[in-house]
Structure formats: structure tokens, C-alpha cells
């Protein structure tokens, strides 16, 4: 899932400076799961901001609401009244949700309460780690199901490099060398021989080289009446 974490209170405070009535809007999907956007986080952040506003004598007002997903316009409908009534929306969604919010409420200032960090998972309670860079050209069938683009510091497609030592990456002893893990897994799968094949250079045009990415599913598109 998408992972995100709160911005610092100080930076949020700076962004909020011009606004008096602010809606703290949570998202009950990815950021709720990574403990950065659910009802509890919304309420904690709002409480913190209220306390801060009180002692600064700012008399700001903080409203709280959580929608199912901020990245679907339909889910934003139920928050419409609150959004319109606020001077600004402080979103605890990921960047996708925030963009969707901004696009759907063109005259409403949108402030990010979270930094969207990566696509990853919670490897243990309280620890979130990256697993995918959404490169658009998945090749993990060649690497035992483990992604070297997301998990190798050098994004090597034919690792490991000389910096792999006892299974750890040279950037930090806390970071496992993904190429060691790929090797171990291929061995377990009985496919070690496949590692001797050189993985060719990636087709980077599938990535962001050509601007914002999009794709079309023609089978699902609905023709606008009179168009075509």
C-alpha cells in the first residue's frame, strides 16, 4: 500500500498561518492503515493544532472528518459541506488523494498534512519499508519475486555489487542486501542458473521520461453522447 507520515507540526503550523477555519480531513484507506490518516490521527493532529492555536492566541477552528478514500470523487461527496465551509483543507491522505481533493474543489486551498513516502508494507508494528517503485515494467520474475529497483541502493539489475557484506548493504548494516536475498531465494527455488543470464537495460520510457503517466482501458471507456 501507499505509505505516508505526518509532516512536522512546525511546518504544518506555517502552512496554516493564513487560515482560521481548517478542516483536518482523514482518509480511511492507505494512510489509515499506515497510522497517518485514520480517525485517531485526525483527532490527535486536530487536538495538537487546537492546543497550539490556543496558546498562540490565534482562535483558529479545527474541524475533523474522515472519508473512505480521498482519491475517489464519490467519497468526497459526504465531506462536501465541511470542505466548502472551511477556509482550507489539511489533508491526511497520500499525494494521490490530495490531488483528487484539489481537483474537485478548485477554489479550496489544500494543504498536505502528510509526506507520501513510498509503496511499501509494515514489516513489523511501527516499521514501514519500501517494496515497489511503480516503474511500469515489472521484472521480478527474473529476481525471485524481490524487486532490486525498490530495494537496492544502486538499483542494480545484475547485482550484487562489491558493497554487499554478510548479507548487508554497504549503506547501512541495518539494510539487508536485496541481491543476497535474491540469491538465497533463487537457490531455494532451484533457479540459481538463471542469475547467470544478464538482465538487459530497462525500457525507461515506461517510466516518467515522457511526462505524467496514464493508461487507457478502452473496454471500459464510456463514449460521451454525440462524440466519437
Amino acid at each position: 500500500m501507499i505509505k505516508a507520515k505526518h509532516k512536522s507540526i512546525a511546518s504544518i503550523g506555517d502552512m496554516l498561518a493564513p487560515y482560521r477555519r481548517v478542516l483536518v480531513l482523514g482518509c480511511n484507506t492507505c494512510t489509515a492503515v499506515c497510522l497517518a490518516g485514520g480517525e485517531k490521527e485526525v483527532s490527535l493532529l486536530a487536538s495538537t493544532l487546537r492546543l497550539r492555536s490556543t496558546i498562540n492566541g490565534q482562535k483558529k477552528e479545527f474541524l475533523e472528518f474522515v472519508v473512505q478514500r480521498q482519491c475517489e470523487p464519490e467519497f468526497l461527496e459526504e465531506a462536501k459541506g465541511l470542505i466548502q465551509g472551511a477556509d482550507a483543507v489539511l489533508s491526511l491522505a497520500c499525494g494521490v488523494g490530495m490531488n483528487c481533493m484539489a481537483e474537485n474543489f478548485p477554489d479550496k486551498p489544500l494543504l498536505p498534512g502528510n509526506d507520501t513516502t513510498f509503496l511499501g508494507l509494515s514489516t513489523e508494528l511501527g516499521l514501514f519499508t519500501e517494496r515497489c517503485v511503480a516503474c511500469g515494467d515489472c521484472l521480478i520474475h527474473l529476481t525471485g519475486g524481490l524487486c532490486p529497483l525498490a530495494r537496492c541502493a544502486k538499483r542494480l539489475l545484475n547485482g550484487p555489487c562489491g558493497g554487499s557484506e554478510e548479507g548487508r548493504c554497504e549503506i547501512s548494516k541495518d539494510v539487508p542486501c536485496i541481491w543476497q536475498m535474491i540469491y538465497d531465494r533463487m537457490k531455494a527455488l532451484g533457479q540459481l542458473d538463471r542469475l547467470s543470464e544478464i538482465v538487459p537495460t530497462r525500457e525507461w520510457s515506461m517510466n516518467d521520461a515522457q511526462g505524467p503517466r496514464s493508461f487507457v482501458r478502452e473496454d471500459l471507456r464510456v463514449q460521451v453522447a454525440g462524440g466519437g
Partner: protein, 673 residues
């Protein structure tokens, strides 16, 4: 899945489901554990018309089913009921809940009759109880030894039943002083027979008619009512292995016997008496002769000298029926001067047909268990007379059913009795994680003292010990409750629960298994979607209590573990909010306190060793750390949050400990600066 959840959320804890009168054991134990003795007694009284008697002599089947007993020793539930009874009063007498106003007569004032009288009176009926003996109470008054039940305790319960308007007329025997026809003429629309088992069973062996051979019920009654004492220097032989036999033997010892010997057919592990009764009798020096069957009582010069016994081959036959067989060639002689037969009880109903009430083919009172009705219109029966021998609480339950049956009859309706549905047992993983906490021993009167008198043997818990014992309760089925609509399936609860209670079901749904939850509350404070509610009292209302505590502009507030409420003295001037274990504190509560103007917030937890839960204080620490970070980020320099660990007895001096914590915190801050 939803079916399972529905069943489990309405299921009773096993203690309550097993209790014949379904006492809310979990509820009154939680009240004791948090020092609210009054509430505990109120809860006991909701379903128990004889709380004092039950707190003293109940056979407590609840304890055998206690789920802590699966992993540790069970709760000492009867002794805790006594804590409620001794410390929770005085309460106003029970009151009527409706006024139906029909006249009902109850014959017999044992536990079944009294319970029916209480229940029918609460429903608003005009109830008269006719008791043939001089005092109400039935078997409780006549046969329970004084050392197990001081009689002033019985009076307390009976006074409360009288306070409901129940007229108890003693010295009135049905068939002698009054007839069913007369009752009908006097306007009684229903009659309930709760006649008990007033006849001792005899034994058909030579010598049984000799002088010095007594029947247990008349012996016990004489000791209890008239203070009967045995002639000096007599050795008493008690035949029987049940609870009444033990009562007889221990009473004989106190009534002046030189020595008491029990003889029973059963092997030690087969004796029907409760193990603790056998143990206490043995402590008192009563000799047990197990696996011996009486053959004859040798009488010389008109006096008992010896009981001749045969060795028992088996007590039960292959079908498990009582059918003793003996080794005819293996005999023993047990010397003694008095033999008391305590081998069972029977009803006295042969006269009932004269009143128009039919007997069955075995000569017993005929009744229909589904309606509690006898063969005579408007006449019902309950208790041991139709159930056979059993515990007082079982008879009470039958009295309760009879009250429902009689009430239904009076309203021309039919009655249906519901069987409670118990929570399932703990699964292996959960069981292995239950933290062992020592069961508090119930102090008993010293053996050397108790054999010389009829003083109450069971001394009961002090309130302090009661609180300690009550907090061992696992609060079965009263913990976390998932609000499915709000759950985002983040699995935080699955990961923080120390017991492995939340599980992932089909289609990725999370199920916090109500039947397995140990009510530690850690998950509630961690759920990012606020999707977990808490069933146990004292958690969901924290925000309201906090607001009330800080009303009037107080600047300090103490969140403390309410399992130590009882010890909290001298803290009346503080704003306090009790939480049943600080694992249930949430960062939002701490911030609410600050938002309400508190400048010093204290979390006071008990020392870890006493906590029945795992790692709850660790979580409380994390939450206070989070709250400190928030306060710092908000720039609230004048607000401090403190965490204290105190032994229960230190709660008595809470204000001093709080100021000390503030001083220490200021000191360490200075050093850091």
C-alpha cells in the same frame, strides 16, 4: 462468521452460565476489584434473594467453570460474594417491580420456597409462606451446621424477603394446621409446594434399632435448634460419604464426641462430599474409613459397641448405577458408642393424596417439569422434593422457575425456561498467555479452636484481600468489541494483542474474538480508526468522567489504575479518573485533559508484578510519551505529564507521591538544561 459473533456476544461467562441462578459474577467481581462494594452487592442482589446465605454456604459450581481455572487457579468466587455482602451494605430492601396482586401460598421456607416467594412478591403478588418449623429457612436452618452458617446471617436475608411484603407464618404444617381447600377458600389462587427432603434414609442391617443409633437429620436439627450435646466420652461413627455426613461428623465433634469416625462405601476419590469439606474434616481429626459397607451394628447390653463392615468391591455397576458389591470374607470392626446414619434423605409426601395431590408410581410427588404443575389444579411444586438432593442454589433456581410458572399460570399464559449459552473455553494460545496471579487463600479458624465450638470456621477475606482476589478475574467476554463499519483492516489490533485474540477471517475481515478477549485494552488505544469499543465498565465513559473531574478549573488530574481504588484515601481533593488498568488509557484522554486546562497530568499505575495483564504499563508509557511530544510541539511549556508506579498500599499517600514526582521531574529537567 456473523453467527459466531452474535452468539458469542450474547453468551454468558461460564461462571454465570453455570450458576443455577445465573449470577452476574463477572460484574460483581469487577465492582469489587475497583473498590465499589456497594455496586457489587447491588449486582449480587439483582438475581439472588439469599445473598448472605449464598456468600457463606454456596457450593459455588461457578468456580469449577471459571476460565482462569483453565490456566491458573480459579477465582475464589464465594468468598468474594461475602466481601460484597459484608462491605456493600446496607442497601435499601428490594422493592416490587409491578403489582399484579394475586394471592399465592408457598408451603415450605427452604431456599426454593424463599426464592419463589421473593420473585413472586417482586412481581407484585401477595405471598404467604407457611413453614412447619418454628423458624423460616427450611434445610438451611435445620440442617446446615452453625459453624458453617451463623444464624444471624440467615435472618438478614429473610428480613429482606419480609420487607417485600411476604408474610412468613411459622409453625404451620400443610395437612395438619392448614389444608389446600382452606387455602383456596381464603382466596389463594396458586399454591407452591417446596417441601424439601425432611426424612433421613435408614439402613436395613441388624442392630439399627438399638439405642445409640441416630438419624442424621434429627441429630443435626437437635444440635442446631436446641443446642443438643452428646453425653461425655462417646466415640461417634457416622455412616455416609456425602456433604451431610461430613456436616454430621463435624457437628458431632463439636457436640462433645471424644472421637468421630466416618465410614463410607466410596473410595476417597469417589466420595460425593466436596473435597474441601473432606479436607477440613480431616484437619479436625475425623477418621475416614473409606470403601467399607456396614454389615451390622453390634449392640451389647442395649448399647452400641461395634460397627461391623465388609470391604467394598465396587460401588457402581457396569452401567454406572449405584449398586454396591462386597467382599463377604473381608470384614473389619469399628468400635464406637453412637452410630449416626447419614446416607441420604427422602421426601415426606405420603399424606399428600389426602390433599388431592397425586403421587407417581414410585410414591413421589408427581409434577411436570415443563410447567412445574402437580396433578391438582393451581398447585405447583419445586425444590428438592421433586428434584432430589442437591445444593441450596440449585433449589433456589428451581424456586425461581416455579415463580415464573406460577405467574404465567395466574396470567393464563404458558411458561418457557431458557437455557443460558456459555462462552466457549479459552483456546490454547490464549490460555498459554494468561498471566498467573496467586489465588488468595481464605483464612479459616484455627483447627484447635474450631473443634471446641460452633464458631464460624470460614473467616472470609478482608476488603483488601478481596480486591486483590477480584482483580484476578479475566472479565471473560467483556473486553474489546470491533466496530466493523469503522474497521480499516490495518491489523494493528492483530499485532498489538499479547494474547493473539484478534484474527483475520475469510475475505480479510478482522474478528476480535469476544469469547477469547482478556480485556487488557491495549488494542483500544492503538486502533487508528477508533474502531474498537470496550464493553467493560469504566472505559467508554473516561471523557465524561474527566470533564467532571476537572470541572471548577482544577489544574491537576490523576489517571490511576482503578483496581487500586480501594486503597485511594486522602486524595479527595484531587481530580481523579480511575481506569481499570492503564493499558486502556488513550493519548486522546491525556490531550483532552490538557485541553480542559490541566497543567499537570499524572498516570498512576500499579507496580507491574501485581498487574494481571501483560505489558499494559509499557503501552501507557508510550502513550504518555506521545502526549508529551504533542504538548511540546504545541508549545505548551507550562504543561507536564508524569508517570508513577506505586504499590497498592502506596495509593493511600497519593498526594505526597504526586508532589515528589513533580519535584523529581523538575530536578531532572534542570540537570538536562
Amino acid at each position: 462468521m456473523s453467527t459466531v459473533l452474535t452468539q458469542q456476544s450474547t453468551a454468558m461467562p461460564p461462571c454465570q452460565a453455570t450458576c443455577p441462578i445465573n449470577q452476574d459474577v463477572r460484574g460483581y467481581l469487577a465492582a469489587i476489584a475497583t473498590g465499589d462494594f456497594r455496586r457489587s452487592l447491588e449486582l449480587v442482589r439483582e438475581t439472588n434473594p439469599l445473598p448472605t446465605i449464598c456468600a457463606t454456604i454456596c457450593a459455588h459450581p461457578c468456580e469449577s467453570e471459571c476460565r482462569r481455572g483453565q490456566a491458573d487457579k480459579p477465582l475464589s468466587i464465594r468468598a468474594l460474594k461475602r466481601v460484597a455482602v459484608e462491605n456493600g451494605g446496607p442497601l435499601a430492601p428490594p422493592s416490587r417491580v409491578s403489582s399484579r396482586g394475586q394471592k399465592v401460598a408457598i408451603i415450605g421456607s427452604g431456599p426454593a420456597g424463599l426464592t419463589a416467594a421473593h420473585d413472586l412478591a417482586r412481581m407484585g403478588h401477595r405471598v404467604t409462606v407457611f413453614e412447619k418449623d418454628a423458624a423460616p429457612g427450611g434445610a438451611i436452618m435445620s440442617y446446615i451446621p452453625l459453624y458453617r452458617l451463623p444464624r444471624e446471617l440467615v435472618a438478614r436475608d429473610i428480613d429482606n424477603i419480609r420487607a417485600l411484603g411476604v408474610d412468613i407464618q411459622t409453625g404451620k404444617a400443610l395437612g395438619q394446621d392448614i389444608t389446600l381447600d382452606e387455602l383456596r377458600q381464603q382466596g389463594y389462587e396458586a399454591v407452591l409446594l417446596s417441601l424439601g427432603l425432611p426424612v433421613s434414609r435408614g439402613l436395613n442391617i441388624p442392630g439399627v434399632d438399638g439405642e445409640g443409633v441416630l438419624l442424621t437429620l434429627s441429630f443435626l436439627k437437635a444440635v442446631n435448634y436446641e443446642g443438643y450435646r452428646l453425653p461425655p466420652d462417646k466415640t461417634v461413627i457416622v455412616i455416609g460419604g456425602g456433604n451431610v455426613a461430613i456436616d454430621t461428623a463435624r457437628s458431632a465433634l463439636r457436640a462433645g464426641a471424644k472421637a468421630v469416625k466416618m465410614v463410607c462405601l466410596e473410595a476417597p476419590d469417589e466420595m460425593p462430599a466436596y473435597p474441601w469439606e473432606i479436607e477440613e474434616a480431616a484437619e479436625e481429626g475425623i477418621e475416614m474409613n473409606c470403601s467399607w459397607g456396614p454389615k451390622q451394628i453390634v449392640v451389647q447390653d442395649g448399647r452400641v459397641t461395634v460397627l461391623e463392615c465388609m470391604a467394598v468391591k465396587s460401588v457402581f455397576d457396569e452401567q454406572g448405577r449405584f449398586n454396591p458389591s462386597f467382599h463377604d470374607d473381608r470384614c473389619t470392626l469399628i468400635e464406637g458408642d453412637i452410630v449416626i446414619l447419614a446416607i441420604g434423605q427422602a421426601s415426606d409426601v405420603a399424606w399428600l393424596p389426602q390433599q388431592g395431590v397425586a403421587l407417581n408410581e414410585r410414591g413421589q410427588l408427581a409434577y411436570d417439569p415443563a410447567t412445574m404443575a402437580t396433578g391438582k389444579e393451581g398447585v405447583f411444586a419445586c425444590g428438592e422434593v421433586v428434584q432430589g438432593p442437591g445444593s441450596a442454589v440449585r433449589a433456589m433456581s428451581h424456586g425461581r422457575q416455579a415463580a415464573l410458572a406460577v405467574d404465567a399460570y395466574l396470567r393464563h399464559e404458558t411458561v418457557a425456561f431458557e437455557e443460558p449459552f456459555p462462552l466457549s473455553q479459552l483456546d490454547e494460545r490464549v490460555k498459554s498467555e494468561v498471566k498467573g496471579v496467586d489465588r488468595q487463600a481464605v483464612p479459616l479458624l484455627e483447627v484447635s479452636r474450631r473443634v471446641t465450638c460452633f464458631d464460624h470456621v470460614d473467616l472470609g477475606y478482608t476488603p483488601e484481600t478481596g480486591v486483590k482476589e477480584a482483580r484476578r478475574c479475566l472479565n471473560c467476554g467483556n473486553g474489546a468489541q470491533l466496530i466493523a463499519d469503522k474497521c480499516v483492516a490495518c491489523l494493528t489490533c492483530v499485532r498489538v494483542c499479547p494474547y493473539g485474540v484478534p484474527v483475520v477471517r475469510e475475505a480479510g475481515e478482522v474478528d476480535i474474538r469476544a469469547d477469547q478477549c482478556q480485556a487488557c485494552g491495549i488494542c483500544v488505544g492503538e486502533c487508528p480508526a477508533n474502531a474498537i469499543a470496550f464493553r467493560m465498565a469504566g472505559v467508554e465513559d473516561i471523557p465524561q468522567r474527566l470533564e467532571a473531574a476537572l470541572a471548577g478549573g482544577k489544574k491537576e488530574v490523576v489517571f490511576y489504575c482503578s483496581y487500586n481504588t480501594f486503597y485511594l484515601r486522602g486524595a479527595d481533593t484531587l481530580a481523579t479518573v480511575g481506569i481499570p488498568c492503564l493499558g486502556k488509557i488513550d493519548v486522546k484522554h491525556l490531550l483532552q485533559a490538557v485541553a480542559l486546562g490541566a497543567e499537570r497530568v499524572f498516570l498512576v499505575g500499579c507496580a507491574d508484578a501485581d498487574c494481571p495483564y501483560h505489558r499494559t504499563l509499557d503501552w501507557a508509557h508510550r502513550r504518555i510519551d506521545t502526549a508529551r511530544t504533542v504538548v511540546q510541539q504545541a508549545g505548551l511549556s507550562g504543561v507536564t505529564l508524569h508517570m508513577l508506579h506505586l504499590e497498592p498500599q502506596q495509593f493511600a499517600a497519593l498526594p505526597q507521591h504526586l508532589s515528589q514526582a513533580v519535584q523529581e521531574a523538575a530536578h531532572s529537567e534542570e540537570q538536562n538544561d
